[in-house]
Symmetry: C2
Subunit: 534 residues, 2 copies
């Protein structure tokens, strides 16, 4: 057991409750200052020294990034800096990592990766440019945090360096996107990246600039001022009108032993069967922004609090046409900042779903409303089962949002990834304005199987029982391969290539065994490696 096994913590927070970040808004700039309270670890057992982070620190960062988009749309550049003297950030807390169970480590890294991608998404698509102001030591996950920013400036004090000391000091990878972003995003020459990633002390000064590890050195004497100038220059590139902001209200789900309930969403847990139903209800007052924020929160709770749930049945209830109309309104207003931000949030939530290491089945039943953005839930599922009703009342429907507004991590729409063999079919489904009844959905390739009521219940029961009886590790690996057909990009390489290698390394004695490097970090003993290369 390790951190994260404590039951039921909330994944949402608010700037008023931050312990580790200072949240300062002064449009067009905002500044996120990391000043970790070392005595407030997320679970007891370690001190958060040197601005090192744990899940609690990253939950605050994710919250800040989200609030800046919705509550402060007049912010055009965001400075990320360190609030401790001569320390930007020392990365993930090693004692926390060493004490954590394998599953928590993997989940923690996935979450921090998603937060970094949300920052890049904001720089690329929300007109909020992230600038890393590395005021001192920028090590490991600290440099990975900087790498997620659009520009990186390092203080020129003759001492401060950027570094990725994971390989030489800990025997693990810079797995929060570090290796990928160095060579794929910043396009650092691979041999220089090799030297850099094996040099515990890192690289400083002009060399860091020459190698492309940072975008500039700024003098200590006027560091803040010089960073501010860069940030204002980035902000000045954004001229689209935005605002005023809206408040992201608390989700505050009702949590019981058997369920997590939100306004539009419910996660119903069948602990004995190791399954859960994730149901989205699009009734009167349905608001996509709220609904997708709730889905997002439910997915995080599922990941952190209910690791034994092996399968999630995705369900919807409500009015197909209403969902479609809500989608169309978003699509028609997509030039408007708020509709645009809502679409970006929906896309991030769906990507979080794709990356959730649980089997996903969708059940299309009577009264369901898998239309457009909610159809994406079914398209994200590993399999979709649809009721064949005599009346033809059970239907799926596309909306303009299925045409590419909600891309997967690797850049394809879910329809494109589904119909790789027939791209025209992806386009035809996205353009369809008529709903698909069961026969039409089968013919179009949108569902895996269909049956009438009695047979469907039986078929689903058998399929679910079989699924949750299989090796959870094999399923995770299988799903990670089948879900992302087609190309890869830098983002998907982080989850597909980098994370998979990191997971392997986390499970190897050379890192996490009794004499492994991660286990022994900070202790007097030297790690003992088993030398054969694999």
């Amino acid at each position: 057991m390790g951190p994260g096994c404590s039951a039921g913590f909330a994944l949402e927070t608010h700037p008023h409750a931050y312990r580790h970040w200072r949240f300062h808004v002064e449009p067009p700039l905002a500044t996120l200052t990391l000043a970790v309270d070392e005595d407030s670890p997320f679970v007891p057992g370690y001190k958060l020294k040197l601005n090192s982070y744990d899940l609690g620190v990253d939950i605050e960062l994710a919250d800040a990034v989200a609030r800046l988009r919705f509550e402060h749309p007049d912010v055009r550049a965001v400075i990320v800096t360190g609030g401790l003297d001569r320390v930007f950030c020392a990365g993930a807390n090693i004692r926390m990592l060493a004490a954590s169970a394998h599953g928590f480590k993997v989940n923690f890294c996935k979450y921090t990766n998603e937060t970094r991608l949300a920052m890049e998404d904001a720089s690329a698509h929300s007109g909020q440019h992230y600038i890393a102001a590395c005021n001192g030591t920028t090590a490991g996950g600290g440099y990975e945090l900087a790498l997620a920013c659009e520009e990186i400036y390092l203080v020129d004090d003759g001492n401060s360096s950027v570094s990725l000391p994971e390989v030489p000091l800990l025997g693990v990878l810079p797995g929060t996107g570090g290796l990928t972003r160095v060579v794929d995003k910043r396009k650092v020459r691979r041999d220089l990246a090799d030297v850099f990633a094996t040099l515990a002390e890192g690289v400083k000064g002009k060399r860091a600039v020459e190698w492309g590890l940072v975008d500039g050195l700024l003098p200590r004497s006027r560091f803040q001022e010089a960073v501010r100038e860069r940030a204002l220059a980035a902000a000045a590139r954004e001229t689209r009108p935005k605002g005023p902001g809206i408040q992201l209200e608390a989700l505050a789900p009702e949590v019981t032993a058997g369920a997590v309930r939100y306004r539009h969403v419910a996660l119903d847990l069948n602990h004995a069967g190791r399954t859960a139903d994730l149901t989205v209800e699009a009734g009167p007052g349905y608001a996509p922004l709220r609904a997708f924020r709730e889905i997002d929160d439910a997915l995080l709770r599922l990941r952190f609090h209910y690791p034994e749930i092996g399968l999630v049945m995705l369900k919807t209830r409500g009015d197909l046409d209403m969902v479609r109309q809500a989608d169309e309104a978003l699509y028609d207003n997509r030039q408007d900042w708020l509709a645009h931000e809502t679409l970006l949030l929906m896309a991030r939530t769906l990507r979080r779903l794709d990356l959730t290491a649980r089997s996903l089945f969708a059940a299309v039943e009577e009264g369901s409303c898998f239309a457009g953005s909610l159809l994406e839930l079914a398209l994200a599922a590993d399999r979709t089962y649809m009721l064949r009703d005599a009346a033809g009342a059970v239907r799926l429907a596309a909306s303009p949002l299925n045409g590419g507004c909600l891309p997967m991590t690797h850049g394809l729409s879910r329809l494109q990834a589904r119909f790789l063999a027939d791209p025209a079919r992806a386009a035809a489904v996205a353009a369809a304005r008529q709903p698909f009844d069961t026969e039409a959905a089968l013919a179009a390739g949108l569902v895996t199987a269909a049956a009438d009521e009695i047979d469907l219940e039986d078929e689903l029961r058998v399929a679910v029982e079989e699924r949750v009886s299989l090796s959870p590790d094999a399923l995770t690996g299988m799903e990670a391969n089948l879900r992302f057909a087609g190309a890869e990009n830098s983002d998907s390489k982080i989850f597909g290539r980098l994370s998979a290698w990191q997971n392997w390394i986390f499970s190897r004695p050379n890192a996490t065994g009794e004499r492994g490097a991660l286990t022994l970090y900070g202790k007097p003993e030297r790690p003992q490696f088993n030398w054969p290369r694999t």
Copy 2:
């Protein structure tokens, strides 16, 4: 310990010595018939039942694929079929896998993957089209073998199926490209692929055709004849003149405790230091085809026989101009079948180098000849160190082969991957007709560091000692990420995404623990899984 730890077996063979494959050539067709001798396992301890394979079987297949290209260029289509009644191939032998050490499993899978890619390379580039004639049970690695063929035909006997039962029966992945080829190469819809890869009994008949798992069903009564028609049709598409073939002579290296020596290549082992020198000597009589075959064999010996060697120093000795001239002759004659095949072989060898899980440094010293195709060795290295000599006699040189004739697994040239940030530089280096002395090589970004003789020796010694002191697992993960900057394709996803997940799964108790599914396969006990999803 497991298979593969037996010392010093050869990686080369000859059709006369095959125990498991029948090699029949009748231009324009060839037929490779798998008829595994179950009593001839590669190492004692298991029976190769039901045409299951081990390393010995795959070494023969790799040899057959190579010989067909060079010795039988008049072959235009290759039928791969099973020689046992109602059995095509049951995949990798499970008892062998279960008894193997982790490192051997990983190496075995890498080798079989490379053999499958060599078949695809022959279909795509050598005008030898591989046709799988699945005459019966086609399971697991057996179906993965079929997937590596351009066309797959299944016997229509009401019983024979194709299947990937690894996830449901063994708790591991179809890791020899299976998952990737199903959705990326054959573009099977992901939900159907999900059903298929969890269905132990597989899919047969019309459903296999409808789902895109096979290209056709052929009646049992005239199966061979119908396959032959398809193969002749594929052969008829190839009209380029080729031949006559050349003999691939035996490499037969001289192996001692401290070295493996070939005609042009030597692998000198420093067991105590856990390093090796891989030296290519381009002296009089230098023949690129022979030299690259030797490099390939040396790499395989390194992988299987010397797992504790952590770092390989890549060296060359000889005449820079002569290497360049040999390259130019190949390039100028690249329309000729033999030059074309030689280039393809050189490219495959260099890809084997990129995928070798050892740290690779290159040392550019006096008398070295890193030109063109041999420059690729330095470009494949994680770092390159170059001597700065007073006379300017130490030089590197490009040749036309650096311009894209020898692509990496992910499709880029090594220069393109190196200079992702500046594609024009990759083109400029490839086009350069003047050699690069040390200063020019540094300026062009071709080497990592340069120093004069005394300093270089010192710098190299320190760098090597540091490198081999680091966690071997972390280095493998780091190198697998830094070496493949830029895009991914289906081939590179097999090694980057699929293999990395498989390695993780192989190291998990749910597969290989005492009660893991792989361990218990074929035994009366049921596996016991640790349920949390990760």
